[in-house]
């Protein structure tokens, strides 16, 4: 049994990015579900989204790789182009960038919504607002 745990731990430590993702994701989920304060809920959901972005950007990591711009190799006499193996895959980064934009837009809309609720009911607590509506 303990051997299995050791193997699982070893596997997990080989991929620290996955561990970080899971921890952040669960933290975000916990904050989002347990708080009745709307701003705290938003913080939770922001954390949740960021954890997914972290996962997305870390799967594109490659050690000692170059930026994905065609670079000429000057070491040889003829200017050959560095083979694609030396480049980082740019797609995860592009996706992350797009997802960040989406996240920012969501945050903007949600903060505007919370501001509108606060102006109307002068409270940020969801339960309190619901009581005031009754």
């Amino acid at each position: 049994m303990s051997e299995q745990i050791q193997v699982a731990l070893k596997e997990a430590l080989e991929r620290p990015n996955l561990v970080a993702f899971v921890v952040l994701f669960l933290c975000g989920f916990f904050v989002m579900t347990t708080n009745s304060n709307m701003i705290k809920k938003l913080i939770g959901i922001y954390l949740l989204q960021t954890s997914v972005l972290l996962l997305l950007v870390t799967i594109g990591v490659k050690q000692d790789a170059s930026v994905p711009i065609l670079i000429a190799d000057h070491t040889e006499s003829s200017e050959t182009i560095v083979p694609a193996d030396y480049y980082v895959n740019p797609l995860p980064h592009v996706l992350t960038l797009t997802a960040i934009v989406v996240q920012v837009a969501t945050l903007g809309v949600s903060l505007a919504l919370v501001a509108a609720i606060y102006r109307k009911y002068s409270s940020l607590d969801e339960n309190e607002v619901l009581q005031r509506i009754e």
């Binding site: 949740l48 989204q49 996962l55 797009t98 837009a105 919504l113 609720i117």
Partner: protein
């Protein structure tokens, strides 16, 4: 021109949405005609697109000239096939109808909100167009978010209690799209592509890939996210509140389109991405979705029976219909697939029609709950349309609802899935029960004195209500060729 039709269909509402705030700055009464014209032109183009696709077959469009087909696929692919073009006709038709209808209801929204109102509707429509066309799973995510953000803001436009409903919708919707994105990450990490067609090829070449832990996990998150978006039964919590509290002119649009398009995205990924029509490996996912569909069909109509508020009741009815469509999709045979796609179109129209009636009933007769219903007697127009739509909701012959359900049941018989048939029949009986409750209130004896209505129905309202009611009957009468058309989409899905 023909080659660029998909992107024109998307850009038309999008460009108008960008222009509207500028126009609205000087003269906000120009907003409505402009938006309406843009959507009507879009409807015309969507019909042209449907005819062209029928004639020339499926078209694959590479955005900005980055044509797909290169290996590996560079650029963004849009798929313009039978299912997408039919869906687009439904979207643009309902959107123009909603805009027509909302004209007499805009005073309730307030003058300073007119510009954002029309801008957001157009943004929503262009995002839905994007989801329908998208050929890769990341684009579906982006457009889902754009559609959802417009929807949150549109729900919140009503102010007051709608703000809370919109906030809940936002929290759950964002959670859903985050789950979806997580699924996309898993799929990308495993297959190295986002393009559905390429994914399809990989899964066909090595079906055992579908058993890998990453793909199974990715599927779970993907469908969990889409399940929240389409308000699949245990994940439906945001829907009744949002649809009930949204402005009366907005609920038909959201009820008719939002959940249906999410369901369309789910079908698209299942059959065009995961090859559910060809391989046996995705079957567990389909079985699970079908099981949840049965649960949704039963629970949705049961909860509808318990509601007092009209709009809330119709919202739960919509939840049960999402379940019905999923049952049809999960049978993996042509008949059920064609039936459920036909039912999807029908349901979009029925839901929009019911919310049209609910909105008009609130505005003209002050009918919000079941007890107020006798006041509706003053308006034979509304009651007649309501009867037609109710017949279709229950599924009684000359209406489209019947033929959709009928083919789903035939498909389930073909698949020998008797549990699904039982679920459909029981859900139909429950639907009948809650509509009977409504009609008993309308026609039965009551103490509620019908007071005078606030003005007669405006022509656009009459038109919107009458057209939807007529259309469910017309769809039923033309069900033969339409089912034949959707059978084509089923064979395109590999069934």
């Amino acid at each position: 021109m023909r080659d660029h039709l998909p992107v024109i269909l998307f850009l038309l509402p999008f460009a108008t949405a960008i222009c509207l705030p500028m126009v609205g700055l000087k003269a906000h009464r120009w907003c409505r005609p402009l938006a309406l014209v843009s959507l009507l032109v879009m409807f015309g183009l969507a019909i042209v697109n449907l005819l062209l696709v029928r004639e020339h077959g499926e078209q694959s469009y590479g955005l900005a000239g980055w044509l797909p087909g290169s290996d590996p696929t560079l650029g963004i692919e849009w798929v313009n096939d039978h299912l997408a073009s039919a869906m687009l006709v439904a979207i643009s038709f309902l959107a123009s109808l909603c805009l027509l209808y909302s004209g007499s209801l805009t005073p309730t929204i307030g003058k300073h909100r007119v510009v954002p109102y029309y801008t957001l509707i157009l943004l929503l429509i262009s995002a839905l167009t994007g989801i329908v066309f998208a050929g890769d799973i990341f684009n579906v995510f982006v457009f889902l978010e754009v559609a959802a953000l417009s929807a949150y803001a549109l729900v919140a436009l009503a102010g007051g209690r709608a703000l809370i409903a919109a906030f809940r919708y936002l929290i759950l919707g964002t959670l859903g799209s985050t789950f979806y994105l997580l699924g996309v990450v898993f799929f990308y990490a495993t297959t190295g592509t986002l393009n559905m067609a390429e994914m399809y090829q990989q899964f066909i070449a090595s079906p055992e890939l579908l058993h890998s832990r990453a793909i199974v996990g990715g599927m779970t998150f993907l469908f969990l996210g889409l399940g929240i978006k389409m308000a699949l039964f245990p994940l439906h919590a945001w829907l009744p509140g949002a649809y009930t509290r949204a402005p009366d002119a907005i609920s038909p649009l959201l009820a008719g389109l939002m959940t249906k398009v999410a369901l369309y995205g789910c079908v698209r990924i299942l059959f065009w991405g995961l090859a559910a029509g060809k391989l046996l490996e995705p079957v567990p996912a389909l079985t699970l979705l079908g099981g949840l569909g049965m649960l949704a069909a039963l629970a949705g109509s049961l909860l509808a029976l318990a509601q007092q508020e009209l709009k809330r009741m119709f919202a739960y009815g919509g939840i049960s219909h999402i379940g019905l469509i999923l049952i049809g999709v999960s049978q993996t045979n042509q008949t059920a697939f064609a039936g459920s796609m036909f039912y999807l179109m029908n349901d979009a129209i029925m839901q929009a029609g019911l919310f049209f009636i609910a909105g008009a009933a609130i505005l003209h007769h002050g009918v919000r709950t079941v007890t107020d219903l006798p006041r509706l007697r003053q308006s034979p127009w509304l009651v007649a349309a309501f009867i037609a739509l109710a017949l279709s909701m229950i599924g009684i012959p000359p209406t489209g609802g019947f033929f959709g359900k009928w083919h789903i049941i035939l498909g389930a018989l073909e698949a020998e899935n008797y549990l699904a048939i039982t679920a459909i029949v029981v859900s139909t009986l429950l639907t009948m029960a809650y509509f009977q409750r409504l009609f008993l209130r309308i026609f039965g004896h009551s103490e509620v004195v019908p007071d005078s209505a606030e003005g007669s129905l405006a022509l656009p309202v009459k038109l919107a209500v009458g057209l939807t009611a007529m259309l469910v009957v017309v769809l039923g009468l033309c069900s033969g060729p339409l089912i034949g058309f959707f059978r084509l989409t089923a064979s395109a899905a590999g069934l």
